[in-house]
């Protein structure tokens, strides 16, 4: 009896050890962190981002990984809160020993985590938009940004207004990091395009009615309204405008470029105009456009895997994980410094545009990576130039 037990234990140990030695022969995995606001008020951002990085990591691993190294993802949820984001990033760096971080989803959480990654010297590819995430570049050595610049979105909107003879506008911005950054860009660039802001209103991310602000805009001679926010509250603005029977044009930010927001606004969003990455109107991108193939591949893969529509936010995560993967492939190991340098010198055709990183530009996108889009019969359609 005792001997049988002993031999069983020896056999088990042998199996364990041999499995261990087998694993040792395989190349060490690369650990990548993801910090997204998967739950909470910005869940519509974080969820597609998490889904996307999972999907791409599986795709890469199924093809044998990067130079034979598998990717291991460590995903954390910030719930949109700064303290949680800081903790999550520290956890990824100190506990999971990741070589690069994707996220966070929001401007506020990204800014809160900048000092952490700068000190730990781990590259972080934020999926948010605010320009201050990567500026000033000398203090943001380790931070890159996948979201298009707010200033470029504002430029596209103002160009469209100029072409359509709109000179006086009312702006309505959300009191979040994203909304506030948009507000300051709208105010800063207005003069350059000969546009006058005659009303400047704000709303909170939890607000459920913007009638009061819209009435104040209606009292002025504004010829268009710009609605700038990233959270679901923004979908109430088109509805309120319809209820108030306001006929003037509604412009929205690239933060509106999500089918869920458009669905929430329903019929009221018809005809509103906003800048967006090309992923939201993949079908209407010309065949010879360099992004066309990437866009179609991502859209098809995402929609068939998760049975829901692609978003620009998921696109940011797609760009981030591929940029990291390309950097890992190029440098051949997971040294954060080498990865950072590889990203800084990279050119990458992605979902949000054609990235051209440099020492002074850790965003790498410009205003041509936006298209002006309108909603027609519930569909996103690219406006003609």
């Amino acid at each position: 009896m005792k001997i049988r037990l002993l031999s069983a234990v020896t056999a088990a140990l042998l199996i364990v050890f041999s499995a261990g030695s087998l694993q040792a022969e395989q190349k060490e995995a690369y650990h990548i962190g993801g910090v997204f606001s998967i739950t909470g008020s910005a869940a519509w951002l974080g969820e597609p981002e998490r889904n996307t990085v999972k999907m791409i990591a599986e795709e890469i691993n199924a093809k044998g990984g990067i130079n034979g190294h598998k990717l291991v993802l460590h995903i954390e949820d910030t719930q949109g809160s700064n303290t949680r984001a800081v903790n999550a990033v520290r956890k990824l760096i100190k506990k999971d020993k990741v070589c690069a971080i994707i996220g966070p989803s929001r401007s506020g959480t990204s800014l809160a985590t900048v000092p952490v990654v700068e000190k730990a010297e781990i590259p972080m590819l934020s999926c948010a938009a605010a320009a201050s995430i990567v500026n000033p570049p000398e203090e943001r050595r380790w931070v890159f940004k996948m979201g298009q610049n707010d200033s470029d979105a504002v430029r596209r909107i103002y160009e469209h207004m100029k072409k359509n003879g709109i000179k006086k506008i009312g702006i309505l911005t959300g009191t979040t990091g994203f909304g506030d950054a948009g507000r300051s860009q709208l105010k800063e660039l207005a003069d350059k395009y000969g546009i006058e802001i005659v009303a400047d209103e704000t709303y909170g991310p939890g607000d459920t009615d913007m009638t009061a602000q819209l009435i104040r805009i209606r009292k002025t001679d504004a010829k268009a309204v710009v609605n700038w926010s990233i959270v679901p509250a923004q979908s109430i603005v088109p509805k309120n405008m319809k209820q108030l029977n306001m006929q003037i044009l509604l412009y929205q930010s690239h933060g509106f470029a999500n089918h869920k927001y458009a669905e929430a606004a329903g019929k009221a969003a018809e005809g509103s105009i906003f800048p967006s990455g090309r992923i939201m109107a993949t079908e209407t991108v010309p065949e010879d456009h360099p992004q066309k193939k990437v866009l179609e591949a991502y859209k098809k893969a995402y929609e068939s895997t998760y049975n829901e529509k692609v978003t620009t936010f998921g696109g940011h995560a797609y760009d981030a994980i591929w940029i990291i993967a390309k950097a890992l492939e190029k440098v051949g190991d997971d040294d954060p410094e080498k990865i950072r340098n590889a990203i800084e010198n990279m050119e990458f055709v992605g979902i949000s545009g054609i990235f051209n990183f440099s020492k002074d530009d850790h965003c790498g996108l410009d205003k041509d990576d936006f298209e002006m889009i309108t909603i027609k019969d519930g569909k996103f359609v690219v406006l003609g130039q």
Partner: protein, 338 residues
């Protein structure tokens, strides 16, 4: 201070010194630093709630005042972090007097209402006064705290510093509680009429302890700002004030140790739950952070139902009856032997 509390201090200090050797990595140390901030705010809140019998639903606002004073004065006016922290504490004290003097003269829970409104106002100012507070985009590049020319750069050094602040704050609070003022406060909690009948100036006592608890909150906010190096209005909303009240209530209103235990427990709970998620997954339950709030609610409900005096009082009475039972057993045993 009774001997029991000295023993408590020894245990606390021993735990604080031991923790960095027990926890596996800096990440958990960081969690413990945030725990220390909550402890500091809860000690102050406990003085107000447990000893003076007043509820403040606006302590998040005093944390915000501390954090923003530190953030604004250091980044925009280049003040030293220490003077900025002191200025924040003074500002909090002044505001506490301004809010407390009219409301604390009234009997009943007027302070709770006033502070709830006050917390909303401070949050709105933090969001809307973009030129000063940075608005929703927040304040960047807040400096680290330095001590004797040595920057508290590492997690370990900030951990020791933050918990030193907790121990010092707790020691001060204990001394206050066991002084004439503390006895006066207890009398107010028991019966305000009786207290004023024996010659306690109840108004002044209540206002002073409210201002003191505001200073505790403000210092904890400043320490938060220096640790994270970035602040925005997010963490200082009304919900945070309510979480603080919950921490004190869960641990036990009537005792400072209770507030400390409540703060530690509820600060660590999200971590414990996320740790529990892995074994739960093995048995087929997918635990999501969404459920945290349900667990909080459940814990609060259970404690209010079965331990209305809080965890600390509950544990104390349990240990007392346990010892009594043991004594009985020993006695009974010795009788049988005889």
């Amino acid at each position: 201070m009774p001997l029991k509390d000295y023993i408590g201090f020894c245990i606390l200090i021993a735990l604080v010194l031991l923790m960095p050797h027990l926890v596996a990595n800096d990440y958990y140390l960081g969690v413990l630093v945030f725990t220390a901030f909550n402890c500091l705010a809860c000690i102050g809140l406990c003085l107000l709630m447990g000893y003076a019998g007043q509820i403040s639903l606006g302590h998040g606002a005093f944390i915000a005042i501390g954090a923003y004073s530190s953030g604004v004065l250091t980044t925009m006016l280049d003040w030293s972090p220490w003077t900025a922290m002191a200025a924040g504490a003074l500002a909090s004290m002044a505001i506490a007097f301004a809010v407390g003097i009219p409301t604390l003269r009234l009997k009943g829970h007027y302070l709770a209402m006033a502070t709830l409104g006050f917390a909303s106002i401070i949050h709105i100012i933090a969001v809307a006064a973009t030129e000063i507070t940075g608005g929703p985009a927040g304040l960047l590049d807040i400096p680290r705290l330095g001590l004797f020319g040595y920057s508290l750069d590492s997690d370990v050094s900030y951990y020791y510093f933050a918990w030193f602040a907790v121990v010092a704050g707790l020691y001060f609070a204990f001394n206050l509680v066991h002084s004439r003022v503390g006895r006066g406060l207890r009398a107010i909690h028991g019966s305000e009429d009786a207290a004023s009948a024996v010659g306690i100036n109840t108004n002044i006592y209540k206002i002073q302890v409210f201002a003191l608890s505001a200073v505790y909150a403000s210092v904890s906010g400043s320490l938060y700002a220096y640790y994270v190096n970035y602040i925005d209005p997010g963490p200082f909303d009304v919900m945070h004030s309510i979480v603080l009240v919950t921490m004190v209530a869960v641990g036990g209103l009537r005792h400072l140790w209770g507030a400390l235990i409540g703060a530690v427990l509820l600060s660590l709970l999200p971590e414990l739950l996320s740790m529990a998620a892995a074994p739960l997954k093995v048995i087929g339950i997918a635990y999501k952070p969404d459920y945290d709030i349900l667990v909080y609610g459940g814990i609060l409900l259970l404690i209010m139902m079965f331990l209305p005096e809080g965890l600390f009082a509950g544990l104390a009475s349990a240990s007392k009856s346990g010892t009594a039972f043991l004594m009985k057993l020993i006695k009974g045993g010795s009788i049988v032997r005889q």
